[in-house]
Symmetry: C2
Subunit: 372 residues, 2 copies
């Protein structure tokens, strides 16, 4: 990506930092650091404000930072010098009166160490807890990011179609999950967006099932929750249920409720809609069908550099949708011991509504597959 | 793993909590929760003390917890009820006067929310910041854990040997990294312990290089840093440099220094040795050869459920080695623009010394491979 993109993001952040009345913010969330600088390593913080921009890292990353970043000062520490010392050096040099830090990604231990290190003879700068300012900026994707997510969707969908074409009843969940990862890479993915879920029959009742030794043919249906990560670091996230043999009527009924709920959720997506109202639109369908207590999670989450990011669809979420946000819509019904159905797509909020970025068929009849 | 193992670990932790004078500790570090309970999901905390043991989770995990854990109370929340509310319910019911929490894994934002939620009419229990008590217990592996790490080493080594046997000059770093992951799975790994590093020539100067489009045959040497994760969740971590064509004499010299440093580091490992002294034993060799400033990271780190855990070998680490610890020894020399050499093995501290768990040959002559 061009450096201009990172400069623009930092400029937008600096405007927010000014509004907070702070001279600087310490960015400790790794994905936020990547989004603001292009740097893809870890263990590095960005200190940024109207008058400074310093990436604080260590000698492992000297060369990589020179390759990936520009327009920033760099403070490099070695194995003898802990992060909090390097932060103190930079804040002292900048004569900061106060220092904001990201509360969601700064541990109490880190805070205690930074606090002790920056306390000079005059007490040092005041530490101010700051909310998810950078994450909120990240929630609205720019054109380059949307293109990356489209690519991640493409890689996930091509990989999935190829996996279905070679699916066999005597393969284990884990073997199929590995095959799916392999095939997404075959279509250009750097890797999976997260460890894929492949859950046969009753195992689909676990919303976060880990693939195991169960055979694909052991039950009549399989749930897949998967996504790809592009080499640019962006992610997709889909869920589908495939029907591999004679279908219990109960499954068809539940599938219908979930699909209806998912469509209602998607339909509610447009700029200005509250996050709560979209969750409500889908959840109501499931509640009306009598399955409310079997849908315990939120309706969806933003995707981007992280697999779960802002905003969130949930009964208690605050905020409204804005153009450029990309969010999953993934209602589910989970019946312990019996199985579960979840259907998930990735949706872009457009100027006048929404665009569903994912296109794997999801009608009940589409879900029926022949396996050997 | 048998439930007795988790009960024993919790009993040991409770003894530590008593010593700290606390009625309970809130365990927020995911790997610590797994180690204490067997639960392999995320987003769940363990509240534990002499008189209570409660796993606080959400509806996505109800079934999984019943499968994986026993001997614990469970507090399940749904999408309407945030984690801090569930914590408040449990702490109020237990009438706790104080509550320790893991400072390294509790964000300031979480702390602020818990703090507000548990403040009852009488102010609620006092929140007390606690160090890495569980992580310190985890540093000493029991026999089951050592067996798991041996398995992770085996999977990594079998996969690596197979990868070398099919290595070709016209494959990219990324293709080879994927092949290596695939082959480790072929030998039973659940997946890689971390995203493998495959770094050709000058790219080996980046200690944390990401595999990219560079061809294996573009330079005379390739650095591999890889490991396997078992289905039980335990990890291995190795680094080797392979020489794929005519070797620059400078590489041979640097290789010799790094190998000598690594052997000296390993030799210093025994119960009672300080973490600093082991780092020193290896670092001195590199400094004496004039490359001190090109070895900027610590000498090694514990491995287990996490790829980086306690203890750490570094010039500033405090503490001593104890039997049962498993640590990497991985000195390196990195010359920007030219390349780098790192050699890494996994070492178990035994009652009377150490045992090197990894066995991939590492003499300079062993590193020479023929590729097509």
């Amino acid at each position: 990506m061009s450096q201009a993109r990172f400069t623009r993001r930092r400029r937008n952040l600096i405007a927010r930092i000014r509004k907070l009345g702070l001279p600087a913010l310490l960015v400790t969330d790794e994905s936020n650091v990547t989004w603001l600088t292009g740097f893809t390593g870890d263990s590095s913080y960005l200190l940024i404000g109207p008058k400074l921009g310093v990436l604080i890292s260590d000698t492992r990353y000297t060369v990589q930072i020179a390759e990936e970043c520009s327009g920033l000062d760099v403070e490099i520490r070695d194995a003898r010098r802990p992060m909090h010392d390097a932060i103190a050096t930079v804040t002292t040099a900048a004569k900061l009166g106060a220092l904001g830090f990201e509360a969601h990604s700064t541990s109490m231990a880190t805070w205690e160490r930074i606090s002790a290190a920056i306390a000079g003879s005059n007490g040092g700068p005041e530490l101010v807890s700051v909310g998810m300012v950078v994450n909120e900026l990240r929630a609205k994707k720019d054109s380059g990011e949307i293109a990356e997510i489209r690519l991640a969707v493409h890689q996930a969908e091509r990989g999935f179609a190829a996996m279905v074409s070679v699916l066999e009843a005597d393969k284990t969940e884990l073997e199929v999950a590995h095959e799916l990862e392999h095939l997404m890479r075959r279509f250009g993915a750097e890797g999976p967006a997260f460890e894929p879920i492949v859950a046969v029959g009753p195992r689909a009742a676990l919303p976060h099932a880990r693939p195991g030794p169960t055979l694909i043919g052991e039950s009549g249906f399989v749930l897949f929750d998967w996504g790809a990560k592009t080499t640019g670091g962006y992610r997709s996230d889909l869920t589908r249920v495939l029907l591999t043999s004679k279908i219990p009527p109960k499954l068809e009924a539940i599938y219908g409720v979930v699909l209806n709920a998912q469509r209602k959720g998607i339909k509610a997506i447009r700029p200005g809609a509250t996050l709560k109202s979209v969750d409500r639109a889908a959840r109501r369908v499931i509640e009306n069908a009598g399955y409310g207590k079997f849908f315990g999670h939120g309706l969806g989450h933003g995707i981007g550099l992280d697999i779960h990011e802002e905003p969130r669809f949930s009964p208690v979420a605050e905020g409204v949708l804005e153009p450029g946000m990309v969010i999953t819509v993934e209602p589910g019904i989970y019946l312990p011991g019996w199985g579960g159905v979840r259907i998930e797509d990735d949706v872009l909020v457009t100027r006048d509504g929404h665009e569903v970025l994912t296109s794997v068929p999801k009608r009940f009849e589409d879900a029926v597959v022949q396996i050997a």
